[in-house]
Symmetry: C2
Subunit: 413 residues, 2 copies
C-alpha cells in the first residue's frame, strides 16, 4: 500500500463539475489500494476576487487581515471536495491549516512552513478516510492565520508529502507535464518524462510557471518525489526526482546523457547600463544596496571594463515593473560616482538553457553562442550557473533564439 498526496490547483477545482471529477480521481486512487491525502487550492478566480475586495477597502491592506480573508478560498474548496467524495460514496474529512498544525512563521502573505503535525492526518487515513487538506494556509505561533503566497498550495502538498513520507506528491494542473520548452514557440517541444529537481528549480524560477519555486526547493530538501500531471486526463505527466535518481535511471536505460534538458524564456525583463563608473571596490555595492532596500530584484549582473582606463560599465536586468524605480536609483548613484548617465532598454528577454548534464559536458556555452550567431542574434548579456546558461537578447528575437537552441541541442520530439 502506498501513501499518495494529490494536490489540485484552482483550475482543477474551478467548478462543481471539476470538483466531482477530483473526487472520482481520489476515490479511484484509493480503490487501487492507496492511502490518499488531497490538498486543494481555492477555486479558480476566488483568491483574486477576495484580494480585490481587500484592495477596494484599503489601498494597502494589513497582510494579517488579508490572510484571514484569502484563506477562506481554500476552506470553501476542502468542504466541497469532502462533500463530493461523500456524494460519490466515499469517506472524507476536511482539514484546515490550524487543524493539522501547519505551523508557519509570521510573514503574513508569504509565510514559510515550519512544521506539520502528521498525527491527525494519519488517524484520518487509519479510519479509511480521504483526508482533504486546505492548501496555501497555515497558522503562526500566535494562532493567527497565515498564507504562503501565490502558488503556495504546491508547497503545502509537498510539505504534506514530506511530513507523511508519502511515496509521491502528485501535482495536478491544467498542463500535462513539463516540456523541453513552450510548445507555443516550438511546436515540436517534447514532454519530459523525468526532470531533476535542480533543473526544475532553475526552470521554475525562470518563468516556466508550472510549479511554485518554493515547492521544488522543499521537495529537493526533503527528498519528495513530485509527479506533475494533468487533472483533465489520465496520461502520465512529468516526474521531478533527485539528480541521482535521474542519473541512475538514465544509465540503466542506456540513454545518452542529456546536456540541455529544457529552455525557458522570460519576457518580464528590462536592462540598465551604467557607463563610465570608477573601477574600484565598492562601486557595485553603492548601486545594489539601495536597489535591495527598495525591494528591486536584480537578476543578471555583468561588469565589464570600459575603454577608458580606471572606468567600467555595469549592466544588469530587473523585472519590467521595477524599471522606473531602478532607473531613478541608478541615475542618482551614477551621478554621485561621476558616471555618464543610465541607458535603459525594456525590450529585452532572457532565454535560458537548463541541464544537469552541463556539469560533465563542457562546450555547451560555445555551442549555444554559435547557434545564436548562425541566425544573427546578438547576445547582450550572459549569466551562467552550474546547470544553467542564460542569455539576454532583444525581445523580438527571443522566440527565434528558443527555436534555434531547441534544434541545436536536439530537444525536439
Amino acid at each position: 500500500m502506498s501513501l499518495i498526496v494529490q494536490k489540485y490547483g484552482g483550475t482543477s477545482v474551478g467548478t462543481l463539475d471539476r470538483i466531482r471529477a477530483v473526487a472520482q480521481r481520489c476515490l479511484r486512487t484509493q480503490a487501487e489500494g492507496n492511502d490518499v491525502v488531497v490538498c486543494v487550492s481555492a477555486m479558480a478566480g476566488e483568491t483574486n476576487r477576495l484580494l480585490e475586495m481587500a484592495r477596494q477597502i484599503h489601498p494597502r491592506p494589513d497582510p494579517r487581515e488579508t490572510d484571514v480573508l484569502a484563506a477562506t478560498g481554500e476552506q470553501v474548496s476542502v468542504a466541497l471536495v469532502a462533500l463530493a467524495i461523500q456524494a460519490a460514496g466515499g469517506k472524507a474529512r476536511s482539514f484546515l491549516g490550524d487543524q493539522i498544525g501547519m505551523r508557519t512563521d509570521d510573514q503574513y502573505g508569504r509565510a514559510r512552513i515550519l512544521s506539520v503535525d502528521d498525527d491527525v492526518l494519519r488517524a484520518s487515513l487509519a479510519r479509511g478516510e480521504i483526508a482533504v487538506v486546505a492548501g496555501f494556509q497555515g497558522e503562526d505561533e500566535h494562532g493567527r492565520i497565515t498564507t504562503l503566497g501565490r502558488g503556495g498550495s504546491d508547497t503545502t502538498g509537498v510539505a504534506l508529502a514530506a511530513a507523511l513520507q508519502a511515496d509521491v506528491c502528485e501535482i495536478y494542473t491544467d498542463v500535462d507535464g513539463i516540456y523541453t520548452t513552450d510548445p507555443r514557440i516550438c511546436p515540436d517541444a517534447r514532454k519530459l518524462p523525468r526532470i531533476a529537481c535542480e533543473e526544475m528549480l532553475e526552470l521554475a524560477s525562470l518563468g516556466a510557471k508550472v510549479l511554485q519555486v518554493r515547492s521544488v526547493e522543499f521537495a529537493l530538501n526533503h527528498d519528495v518525489c513530485i509527479h506533475l500531471r494533468s487533472s483533465f486526463d489520465d496520461s502520465e505527466g512529468s516526474w521531478v526526482v533527485t539528480e541521482e535518481e535521474l542519473r541512475s535511471e538514465l544509465q540503466e536505460e542506456h540513454m545518452e546523457d542529456v546536456r540541455v534538458r529544457g529552455l525557458a524564456v522570460d519576457r518580464n525583463c528590462a536592462k540598465l547600463a551604467l557607463h563610465h563608473l570608477p573601477s574600484r571596490p565598492g562601486t557595485a555595492a553603492k548601486i545594489f544596496r539601495p536597489l535591495a532596500e527598495r525591494g528591486v530584484n536584480v537578476d543578471v549582473i555583468v561588469v565589464a571594463p570600459s575603454s577608458v582606463k580606471g572606468k567600467c560599465t555595469l549592466t544588469f536586468t530587473v523585472e519590467r515593473g521595477d524599471l522606473a524605480t531602478a532607473t531613478e536609483i541608478a541615475s542618482s548613484v551614477a551621478t554621485e560616482l561621476g558616471g555618464k548617465g543610465v541607458e535603459t532598454d525594456d525590450k529585452v528577454a532572457k532565454v535560458s538553457m537548463v541541464g544537469a548534464g552541463m556539469r560533465s559536458h563542457p562546450g555547451v556555452a560555445a555551442d549555444a553562442f554559435e547557434a545564436l550567431a548562425s541566425v544573427g542574434i546578438d547576445i547582450q548579456l550572459v549569466s551562467t550557473s552550474e546547470i544553467k546558461i542564460a542569455c539576454v537578447v532583444a525581445e523580438d528575437r527571443a522566440e527565434d533564439a528558443v527555436r534555434v537552441l531547441h534544434r541545436a541541442f536536439g530537444l525536439a520530439g
Copy 2:
C-alpha cells in the same frame, strides 16, 4: 467608559460601502469613549450561495462539512470590517470562533454555545483595538468548526455581551426597531421604545423575525440588555430589557401599564381536526408521539368533547410544509383509534397578542374575542400562555383581525 457589543446583520455588511459605514459607526462609538466589540454576519446572500453549492454537490450534505463551508461567510466579513476600520484610521483585529474559544456542542448546523473565553477579547480592547468577531461560528470539543443555525450571529452577539458583561448589545439590522405590529398591515403601528425580554421571546417565536429566538432566550438567561436598531440611520431603536426593569421604568414615568405590547401574525400555519376519537388517557399521546418522531412541530392543540358521549375532537396546527406528513400520520392513527377521518385546512393564520401586563390585567381575552366578533371574525382555536393569547382564524381575515385588535388595545401611535 462603557463596553458595547455591536452586532451587524447580513444587510448591514452586504456591500463594501455598507462595510465602510459599519466601520464609521464602530469608530464613532469608540471615539465617544467606549470599548467596542463588533460581531458580524456573512454578507447578505453569501450563506445561501455557499449552502446552495453544498446542496448541488450532495443532496443531503454532511453537516460537519457544511459548517466548514458556511463559516467562511463570516470569516470574509470580519476581515473586511477590520480592514475598513484600519482604512478609516482605527485599530482593529478580526477573531474567528476558535480564536476566542467560542466553544459549542457538536450539533453541527444548529450548535449551542457552551462558553466563551473573554481574555483574548479583553486583551484586544486593552490594546485600543476594535475587536471584530465572526458571528454564527464556533468550535466543538474535537476542534471542528460548528455553526449556530440561521440568525445565529444574534446569539453570538448576545453571548459576547454576556461573557464580557457588556453594558449593552446593540443589534443592527435593516429595520429600526420592534413595532406594535407589522406596519404593512397597520400603517399606524408604533415603534416600541422598550419591550420586555419575555414579550420579545413570544413575538420572536411568533413570526416577528427581527431577532433570533435563541438570542433572546440567551439575553433573558444572562441579563443582557439588547438595543435593536437600524444600521441605516442613527435613530433610537427598541430596547429589549428584563420585565422588572421595564416595570420600574414605566412606573417612574407614571405611564399606564400596558396590557398588550404587540401583535404578531403567523401565516405559516395549517390546521388538522380529528373527530370521534375515544376520550381516554393516551389518545393524544398516540397522535403526537409519531408526529414528534417524524420531526413535525405541533403548535396550538385543543381537545374538545364531541357531541357523542365518550368521544372527543382533537384539533392542532402545524407548519404548512409539514401538513402532508402530519395528515398521513394522523390518518393512520385515527383509523387505528376508530376515529372518523382527518379534516385539514391550510388556509388559516395565527394572530397573537403579547404583553407582560396580561398577568395583572384580567379580561384581555374577553376584550379580544369581542373585538374580533364585532367584525365577524370566527375564532377557530385559542391558545394562551401567561403573557400571550393566540387565535387561529381564516387566513383571509388575519389582517382584519390584526387591525381591529391593534385599535381595540390602543396600540396606535
